[in-house]
Structures are given as C-alpha cells and as structure tokens.
C-alpha cells in the first residue's frame, strides 16, 4: 500500500490534477443533467481551473499544470457553447451512457494500433505505416471470416497479414537500414493499393456480403443491478464487443510486458541506446524485428475490430486516417501504455461527440474531427509539457 501511496501524485502535481478536474466541472456545469443556463457559471469555474493550472505551472509542474490550463479553457468553451443551445438539443446530444459507450467503440481500434506503435517506437523504429497495417488487418479479417466461416479465423488471418507488413517494415528498416519514414509511407501506399485491388477483384461493386461471422458482443447483465448508476453503467459496459474487453486487458498486459519484464527492458534499451544494449548481449536486430512485427499484428487487430466487430463491412480506405490518430495518441500519451490508452479514450470521446453532434449540426461535427490532431500538435509543440520520444527512434543500427 505504501508503494501505491508513493505512486499517487502529491504536491503541486496533485493541485494541478485538481485543476484539470475543475476544468472538466466547468464544462459539466452547463451540460445535462445540471444544465445551468447562465454562461457566467462555466466561465467562472473555468477561470478558476486556469488559475490553479497557472499556479502549479509557475511552481514547476509544467505538464499537468498545462493540462489544467487547457482544461479550463476547453471547459469555458464547451460550457459557453452549451448555454447558447437549447436544453432539448443538449439532451439529444449529451446522453452520457451512450456517449461513453460510443467513445469506447471509437477508441478501441485506435488503442490496438497505438499499443502496436508503442512496441515499434520503444524499440527504436518509427512506424508511420500503422495506417496501412490497420487497413490490411481490416480487409484480411473480413475476407478470412468470409472464406473460413468463423470470425476467430478471420481475426487470425487479419492479424497475420498485418504481421507480414510489420515484417516487411522490419526488413527494410532494420536489415536494409532504409529510412523508416520512407518505409512507412511505402507501406501505407502498398496497403491502400493492395486492399483496394483485392476488394474490387473479389467483391466487385456489391461490397462484402452480409451475414459474415462477426466478432460477438459480450452481454453482461449485472451492471443494471448496481444501485444509483446502474442504468449508466449498463449503457456503457452492458453490451460491448469482445475486442473492447480485450483492449482493456491489452493495456494492462502491455504495461506489464514493457515495464515489468526482461523482454520489455530489452525492447526499451534497444530503443534508447542500441549500442549499450548490444554490448551487454542483447540482440538488437532480433528485438527490433520482433517489436515491429508485433506492432503490425496489433495494428491489424485494431483494423480487424473496425471491419469485423464495429461496422461488419469493408470499404476502400476504410481506416481513413485512424492509423495516424493512433500515432498521435501514442505521442500524446508520451509513449506509455496508460498514457496512450487515455489519449485514445479522449480521441474516441471526441469522435463519439462528433457523431452525436451530427444530428443537429454537421458542420460543427466536422470541425470536431480535427481536434485530436490539433491537440497533438499542441502537445508536441511543448506548450503543455513536451512529449519526448525514445532516444534512438528513427535511427538504423549498424552492428560493429
């Protein structure tokens, strides 16, 4: 318990986290079920959050303090907008249970790809080919399920196809020491061309057939019986796809593997200082090969969820930039499993909100789609605490 206590934030960091919460409260004050109609309230609460953030920022807690300032601003923005629209509109858009449920659905493909990218980048190989690997997984999973007749086989085939692209990326960036960004760009192009080609060749104009064995949902009844918030919990967790639960487990598993096992230590040391790792007998090439191949498999699993669990069809270029959002989430979460997961949830939530907004303002929802990218741009710019990548990422290693 003492170790856990030490892990909890304290001092100015704890103050800054309170600032973040106050910022969230600013937005909440004007949203259902509270729906305060005066814009003064969210503005005052938001300014309070901003002040707390600024205070801790000055005292040296740059990162979380920055979050608190940003949360204050966003809280004022959302709160103000909410007071401008009618309560009826708010209640159609902001249904918390549905929003959080949708956020989990949107976040899961990102989560798998993001954690895949984590392995690759932690081992020192930039992977901007996540997008293409996801797309490959999406296509081959649904094709596999169609041919083999079972979703589990489809998922397996999709994951293997993604792994093949991971292996290709590893071959070019580790063995041939080609530029990793060039390789990733190539993989995105090849995956786009190949999946579109096969999709048209195999399924033509009719698209993927309906009634393909899809990844099932897991219905859990007991959430309903929790007193007070049972309805909310049931809306969020009652009927989630198997892959979403797998995603929860995966975050934990990745954290354990990367930070608590010798394998994880090897991966990280190869990504921070390959020469030192080589000197102590770690096989740099093999470690990178493994990590990059795994990243392809995980990204493909995210794509497979998208096609085989979420929408149950495939369409040309259906990932539409999700691989890049996953990359953004990885950077936004500072190359850490829980950070990346939190960023995926945030981006998933913004997608869910965008989809909900669509019912009464398409243009606002479109603008909302840019948010993950804008946030990440701000994050790498260092305005709210720099994201610092693994030291050796992007550099090929030459064994001596």
């Amino acid at each position: 318990m003492r170790r856990l206590g030490n892990r909890l934030p304290h001092g100015w960091r704890a103050v800054a986290w309170i600032g973040v919460l106050v910022g969230v409260a600013a937005a909440l004050s004007a949203l259902p079920p509270i729906t305060i109609r005066s814009p003064v309230v969210p503005v005052v609460i938001g300014l309070f959050a901003f002040t707390i953030g600024l205070g801790s920022w000055i005292r040296g807690e740059r990162r979380i303090g920055g979050y608190a300032m940003a949360a204050g601003f966003i809280g004022i923005f959302i709160g103000y907008l909410a007071t401008r629209s009618s309560v009826g509109n708010l209640e159609t858009v902001v249904v918390w249970g549905a929003l959080f449920g949708a956020a989990l659905r949107y976040a899961t493909p990102l989560l798998f790809a993001s954690l895949g990218g984590l392995f690759s980048e932690r081992s020192g190989v930039v992977n901007i080919g996540l997008e293409g690997m996801m797309l490959t997984g999406a296509f081959f999973a649904i094709w596999g399920a169609d041919v083999a007749g079972h979703w589990a086989l489809g998922l397996l085939i999709g994951v293997l196809a993604g792994g093949a692209f991971g292996l290709l990326h590893a071959f070019f960036s580790v063995t041939l020491r080609a530029d990793q960004i060039v390789g990733g760009t190539a993989i995105n192009l090849i995956a786009l061309g190949l999946t579109t080609y096969l999709f048209i060749k195999i399924y033509g104009d009719e698209g993927t057939p309906t009634g393909i064995s899809a990844i099932p949902n897991v219905s859990i009844g007991f959430f309903d019986e929790v007193p007070g918030i049972g309805g909310f919990l049931d809306d969020v967790f009652g009927d989630l796809n198997l892959m979403i639960w797998a995603g929860f487990v995966l975050v934990l598993a990745v954290w354990v593997v990367v930070f608590k096992t010798p394998i994880g230590l090897r991966i990280r040391s190869v990504g921070e200082h390959p020469r030192a790792a080589d000197t102590v007998g770690i096989n740099v090439y093999a470690t990178r090969y493994g990590a990059v191949t795994l990243s392809g498999m995980l990204a493909a699993a995210g794509g497979a969820y998208l096609s085989l669990g979420f929408v149950e069809t495939f369409d040309q270029n259906m990932t539409a930039g999700r691989g890049f959002i996953a990359l953004a989430a990885l950077i936004f979460g500072s190359w850490r499993p829980f950070g990346a997961a939190a960023a995926c949830l945030l981006f998933g939530f913004s997608s869910a909100l965008a989809a909900a907004l669509q019912t009464y303002s398409t243009s606002a929802s479109t603008l909302f789609e840019a948010m993950p990218y804008a946030l990440t741009l701000v994050a790498v710019a260092g305005v709210i605490g720099r994201s610092i990548p693994p030291a050796a990422v992007g550099k090929p290693y030459v064994k001596q």
């Binding site: 930039v126 901007i128 070019f172 041939l176 020491r177 080609a178 530029d179 960004i181 060039v182 390789g183 760009t185 190539a186 993989i187 995105n188 192009l189 090849i190 995956a191 786009l192 061309g193 190949l194 579109t196 080609y197 048209i200 060749k201 020469r275 270029n317 539409a320 930039g321 890049f324 959002i325 990359l327 953004a328 950077i331 303002s361 398409t362 243009s363 479109t366 603008l367 789609e369 840019a370 990218y373 804008a374 990440t376 741009l377 790498v380 710019a381 260092g382 720099r386 990548p389 030291a391 990422v393 992007g394 550099k395 090929p396 290693y397 030459v398």
Partner: protein
C-alpha cells in the same frame, strides 16, 4: 526523432544527390532509380499476371496503360500542322495536335495537367529534403493552396472588380501563402522547440483536411446553396480560370500552369545551387551542427525551407484549382493522395530538378494511363488499374528507401568486373 543526431552519422538522406564524383558514380545515380522503377513494374506485373492469368495479357495491360497515358503520341509521327502563337498562321509539324482526331493528344494533355501538379508537390518535398527535413505534409499544403485559391477566386470578385490577370495572380498568391503558412508552422516548431517535422506535418495534414471539409461541407460557411447532395465550394468564375493553350477549355485542355511548373523547376535549381539561401539550406541539411558552428541560423533555415516547400505545394494546389478542378468537394478533399505521390516523385528524382521533372512524368503517366476514362476496359478493368498504380507508387517508394542496397550491388558488380579484367 530528436533534433540533433547523438551517435553514428545520419543515414544517407533518402534520395540525396551525390555532388560531383566520378562519372561512374554519377551513372549510378541514374541507374539506381531506373532499376527501382523496373523492379516495381516487375513486381506489380505479378499482380497483373495473377489477375489476367496470361503473360501476353500482362504485357498488353502495360501497353494499354502506356497508350492511355498519351505518351504514345510522341511515336505517332505524320504530317500535320500547328498554329503559330499570337497569329492565325500555321506551319508543318510532325505530330498531330488535334485532340479530337488524335486520342493520344487528348490523353497526353491529361498527363501533362497532372505532371504540372506533381512537379510542384515533388519540389515541395524535395526542397525540404535538401534541408534535412521530411515534409510529409505536401498533402495539407497542397489542399491549403487549393482552398485559399478557390476562396479568393470565388469571393474576391464580389468585393472588387479586378481585371482577369490580377484576379488570377491574387488567387494563386493566396494559395502559395496558405501553403507557406501551413508548412511554416511545422518549420517554426522544428526550429524553436525541436518538434519533429514528420509528426507536425502529419497532424497539419489532417487539420487542413477537416477544416477544408468544414468550409465546403454540409452547412459549412462556403458551401454552395444549390447542391446539398454533393456539398462543394462555389464554382470558380470564368474570369479566374487559367487560360488553356492546348485543347478545348471545356474539355479539360492543357492550361498555362505547365509553364509555371517548368519555371519552378529552374527556380528550384537556381535557388538551391546559386544563392546564399540555398547554400545555407543545403549546409543545414548536410549537418545542422556544423552549419550552426559555421554561423548559420539552423532555426531560421528550417523555417524558410519549410515555408518555401509550402509555397511550391500551395502553388500546385492553386494551379489545379484554377486550371481544371474549378471547385472543391468533400470527396476530393478527403480522397486525394497527391501529397504522397509527391514524396515518391522527390525520392525517385533524387531531389534534383531534372530528376523531379522525370519522376513526375512517370507517375503522371501512370496515374493518367490507369484512369477509368483512359484505360481500355477490354484489356484491364480500370478500377483495378488505379489501385495497381498506387501499388506501383508504394513499391517505388519502398525500393528507393533501400536504394543504397542497389547502389552497393552495382558497385560490387563493377569491382568484380574490374577484378576479372585485371587478372
């Protein structure tokens, strides 16, 4: 992904041109891209073969793509005549310039229209490369250029009544400025806080895509009132359209942007090789630490190199907007991959003006030749062929990335040949 290289010299910048050197090494610089392209066509030939199940049909498919690109026009010699510019006279000419009589001429116009944009997007990537920056944001900068040019061309005539030339120049300048602005953000962040340009340009790409989708999408501030089914911008007025000098202006004839692209190639080479700015940009690209030690402001050059790259990409966007697109809809905004083709162009062209021009011709011909309106559907289904073109692009990029392996093999083969000759 840090600003400075800590250990081991940086890998040879992708497609970096080797200055000077032995003539054999220079020959390698020409041979390697050719081998790359041949390899890519060979591998994608396997895909075609698996589709057609016949070697003859595979070759026939490539021949049909070549015909569809209009490059066959140059081999169709005959006795024709061509109009002399600024007069009614015409003189004898070996090629048929009448695009109604010659299908090849019509196809070639399309290839050259695309060539114009690809040259400029390729230069946008190449210029940043020479400063050691990977500009993956050509897509966003191009789109910012298209958006700004269309906004100025459609909105400005309501405010002031400009003569045709001024309106066109104003729209193009707006496009260039928008491209420079988007790219400049990435350059500024790289120079000041060391944010990696690959990350920032990817993010900027998507920000521009969504902002443009917002502007011209359903309910957006600049969406036309008439068509709600396919939301798009208003049409560019006739007076803002670029003059067409070959072919029918109503049937997507070749616009004068072609000459802008040609001039840009010269400007690119001049700027890099004959000016102080180019010298500094190359010095930073070669070794930022040495450049800094030599008194060159690295941050300033990162910003300038990116902004100039953005100018090229924005120019490509505005020429496309005023030359043949004339309007922008959400499908185009979200479906375009021209920025990534630009990466392939710059890499294959080894960041030299001549190389970019030739590589752009290859990819323009490939894309036009596989387009559904050009490729003979009897021989190969065009919707498959367009995906094939993307695969070929991807393979070229992949092999260019590992081009030094090809160079190494070439060099080894030569050493062996020399060894065999001396014994």
């Amino acid at each position: 992904m840090t600003v400075t290289q800590v250990e081991s010299p940086p890998p040879p910048a992708p497609g970096e041109a080797s200055p000077g050197g032995h003539w054999l090494e220079r020959l390698d610089g020409v041979l390697a891209p050719i081998i790359t392209v041949l390899l890519a066509f060979l591998i994608s030939g396997v895909v075609v073969y698996l589709t057609t199940r016949d070697l003859g049909d595979t070759l026939e498919t490539y021949r049909a793509i070549f015909r569809g690109s209009g490059l066959s026009w140059f081999f169709e010699l005959g006795s024709h005549d061509i109009g002399v510019p600024f007069s009614d006279a015409s003189v004898w000419f070996p090629w048929n310039t009448d695009d109604i009589a010659s299908l090849a001429a019509a196809n070639l116009q399309q290839t050259l229209i695309l060539w114009t944009a690809l040259v400029l997007v390729g230069l946008a990537v190449a210029f940043a490369f020479r400063c050691g920056l990977f500009n993956i944001g050509g897509q966003g900068q191009y789109l910012a250029g298209t958006t700004a040019a269309i906004l100025v061309a459609t909105e400005l005539p309501d405010l002031v009544d400009l003569p045709r030339a001024l309106l066109i120049v104003a729209s193009i300048l707006a496009g260039m400025l928008a491209g420079a602005l988007v790219a400049g953000i990435a350059g500024f962040l790289k120079g000041t806080v060391g944010a990696h340009e690959v990350i920032t340009t990817i993010m900027l790409n998507w920000i521009v895509i969504w902002v443009a989708s917002y502007l011209f999408g359903i309910g957006g501030p600049f969406q036309t009132e008439e068509s709600d089914a396919l939301p798009s911008s208003a049409d560019v007025p006739d007076k803002a359209k670029l003059p067409v000098f070959w072919g029918d202006p109503l049937l997507q004839g070749l616009h004068i942007g072609l000459f802008v692209a040609l001039v840009s190639l010269v400007v690119y080479a001049f700027l890099l090789n004959r000016t102080t700015l180019g010298y500094e940009v190359r010095a930073v690209g070669f070794n930022p630490d040495a450049a800094r030690y030599g008194g060159i402001s690295v941050a300033r050059n990162y910003f300038l190199a990116m902004a100039i790259s953005g100018v090229f990409a924005g120019l490509a966007g505005s020429l496309d907007a005023l030359g043949w697109q004339f309007r922008l809809d959400v499908t185009q905004i979200q479906g375009s991959t021209i920025g990534f083709t630009g990466i392939a162009v710059a890499l294959l062209g080894r960041n030299t003006a001549v190389g970019v021009g030739l590589a752009a011709l290859l990819f323009a011909a490939l894309e036009t030749g596989t387009a559904s309106r050009n490729l003979d559907p009897e021989i190969f289904p065009p919707d498959l062929a367009s995906s094939l073109a993307i695969i070929i692009q991807g393979l070229v990029v992949l092999f260019v990335g590992a081009q030094f392996v090809i160079l190494l093999l070439l060099r080894r083969a030569r050493t062996r040949a020399a060894g065999a000759a001396s014994t």
